[in-house]
């Protein structure tokens, strides 16, 4: 991952000043929200479905060891092989080993967030020609950027930028006129078609893993995952251990949630269920199927106060409905998982000390929780991370002592009334109405005027005065 975790603020500032990015974000924002809202109209019982989704995931997590055993057994009997990876490095190693043993030269990849998480691309690119096949991923691969959204990785790119990238990489020219969307999509189709046909390895993620059949579920709209997993000789799927569901019945419910929440569809154009490698009587399909299951911190989450985050099905609805995400985009979050889910997952996977801004840069407005298909209490988890940061002294000392000092005062009502009364007196004399600048209020007045209190004293002072005069009279 090219992006560093440090300095969230600087990246956010840069994002706010980036006109191209802001234009792209403005375009994307309403689209995702409206599409999801429309898509759930066809399913009036959507709330019950969300509850079902949450129960299915909670249940599977509670019995994860049972289901992993079952999955492995069924995958094996369908001719697939399972590889566990305890951490990111061993995940990369497992994939590289399979590629080397298959004497791979060319690799075609469908989108995998688990792959992004373990830094698979850089490892592969060092040894093999590796091409992303999801159009969005392909665009950012050309731009040498990480994805900025888990569903729409190139959502931050404008058509102008994509034109420039394609002109440079496909035609060796630059500064050409803005190209139309069909033209760009068609060109990518042609370029990538050759890559599909030439690849000896196809790598994908997995949206769900079905225990009682040993099946991998993949959803795409482009059909790239299907070409990636049916043309090459070897298919490698990489996924987190939490992707399990008990059976195809539950997978069907989860797919209804996923499509509506992610892209506002009732179902994606291609929903694919892969069970093992090519059978003897078949004419096509990969000869080998490998599933790499990664832990990378998940088993720890299973046992701590963040277990419910493992319900996440990576739909992206939380970021689509997040006002902070829509102001700064995905890159500002500094790692592969942006938005509210990233504000929880990044500290989990990379360490809270390395991503301390993420749980803080949230207004706790709660909109994400209302759309999350598996009802993850994202604001609760984000706030809980603040407890951890405070306790582990990751929260800056100035903030900690500031809040403790204020709390000390708030526990002493008489003193509090006196101090706030005095402060209010001083403040009310800074000007009339509102001021553009005030001592100690620089962060507020950076973008806002400060409405001043009136000159009659605090409510408590005025109330007590009234009570007294009431009693006197």
């Amino acid at each position: 991952m090219a992006v560093s975790e440090a300095d969230f603020r600087a990246r956010a500032r840069k994002a706010l000043d980036d006109d191209n990015l802001q234009a792209a974000l403005a375009q994307a924002k309403g689209g995702f929200v409206d599409k999801r809202a429309d898509a759930i109209l066809d399913l009036p019982a959507f709330e019950q479905l969300r509850e079902r989704g949450r129960q299915i995931k909670d249940h599977t997590l509670e019995y994860l060891d049972t289901y992993l055993d079952e999955f492995e057994q069924n995958l094996n009997s369908a001719g697939g092989q399972l590889h566990y990876a305890a951490d990111a490095e061993s995940a990369r190693e497992a994939v590289l080993r399979i590629c080397r043993e298959a004497h791979a030269r060319q690799i075609i990849k469908a989108k995998t967030m688990a792959g992004e998480e373990v830094g698979l691309n850089e490892a592969l690119e060092a040894e093999f020609e590796t091409v992303e096949s999801d159009l969005g991923e392909y665009i950012i691969q050309l731009a040498k950027e990480p994805p900025s959204h888990i569903i729409a990785p190139a959502v931050h790119k404008t058509r102008g930028e994509i034109t420039e990238l394609f002109d440079t990489h496909h035609h060796g020219r630059s500064g050409g006129p803005l190209r139309e969307t069909p033209d760009l999509v068609n060109e990518a189709r042609g370029v990538l078609r050759e890559k599909f046909l030439g690849a000896d390895i196809g790598i994908s993620g997995a949206n769900f893993l079905v225990a009682d059949t040993g099946t991998i579920t993949l959803v795409t709209n482009e059909g790239n995952a299907d070409l990636s997993t049916s043309l090459p000789r070897v298919h490698i799927a990489i996924a987190g251990v939490e992707k399990l569901v008990p059976s195809m019945q539950e997978a069907s419910s989860m797919l209804r949630l996923l499509a509506r929440s992610a892209t506002g569809q009732q179902i994606t154009a291609y929903t694919t269920f892969i069970t093992g490698a090519r059978r003897e009587d078949e004419l096509d399909g990969p000869e080998e199927l490998h599933v790499v299951l990664i832990d990378n911190g998940r088993s720890r989450m299973l046992g701590n106060d963040y277990r419910e985050m493992l319900r996440c099905i990576r739909c992206g609805a939380c970021m689509n409905h997040c006002p902070v995400y829509s102001a700064i985009g995905g890159h500002a979050y500094g790692w592969v998982y942006p938005g509210p889910m990233g504000a929880v997952l990044t500290p989990m996977f990379r360490g809270l000390d390395k991503s301390s801004d993420l749980p803080q840069a949230c207004t706790l407005n709660g909109r994400c929780q209302t759309v999350c298909p598996v009802k993850i209490r994202l604001p609760h988890l984000i706030r809980q991370l603040r407890d951890d940061a405070f306790e582990q002294q990751i929260t800056p000392a100035t903030t900690r002592w500031g809040i403790r000092g204020w709390a000390w005062l708030a526990r002493r009502p008489r003193l509090y009334t006196a101090v706030t009364g005095l402060a209010q007196r001083l403040m009310s004399r800074l000007g009339r109405g509102s001021v553009r600048r005030a001592p100690l209020a620089g962060a507020w007045t950076a973008g806002r005027d400060l409405p001043l209190p009136g000159r009659g004293g605090t409510f408590q002072q005025q109330w007590q005065a009234r009570q007294r005069s009431g009693q006197d009279g």
Binding site: L16, A361, G366, A410, R432, D449, T458
Partner: protein
Amino acid sequence: MTDAASPTPRVGLFVTCLVDFFRPRVGFASVRLLESAGCDVEVPAGQTCCGQPAYNTGDLSDTRDIARRVIEAFAGYDYLVAPSGSCVGQIRQYPTLFDEGSEWRRRADELAGRSYEIMAFINDVLGITPPEQGFTGRVTYHDSCSGLRQLGIREQPRRLLGGNAGLEMVEMDERDTCCGFGGTFCVKYPDISTRMVDQKAESIERTGAETLLGGDLGCLMNIAGRMHRRGQPVKVRHAVEVLAGMADEPAIGEEEQ
């Protein structure tokens, strides 16, 4: 009132620290509104803040201390009522601060069960629509996030304000999007917060409303401050000012007479 034992509900007003400091008239409007709705209103001594700044900074031990004080201060009242969905949302979180089965947990649960945001209280608990206050003009309403999502407050303020025949309510686009206040968020991440409140100001501008009303002073000060900076001449008030017939006084950030 359905509770026959106390025909006149005894209400403890939780003023909130922001109202206490920045806009006392919201407190007086609340008292007037509750009294005219037939309540006995007191302002319990010993209240300061609900503890939300500490809670949202992760300082649980201080939050717990503050919670105990609020629980003590409001013992014995039929209801705790506050002109803020955000503070009531926080008070309803108090039980999570104490161990299950403990005495404080029991008291926190008990307080949470009788704590209400003022407009939800008048509409849902008392079932009253305040009398016409003769307010006229085009108004838009900002739903603060904690009220909206933690307490489900959406229709109540609109229903109560609907008692004013001359008040024309125009809803803004993206009305359930956060204004960027977020308590300490707005000063911790001023750049992001400013962009968010800017978008809110634009939504408000598109309504053509002369007045913005809302139920939480934090959000209202944030939006008022941004609109003032932008030179956007919209009057910003807490909705109880209109409901209590006090909308002729200076709006938030306006010069006092």
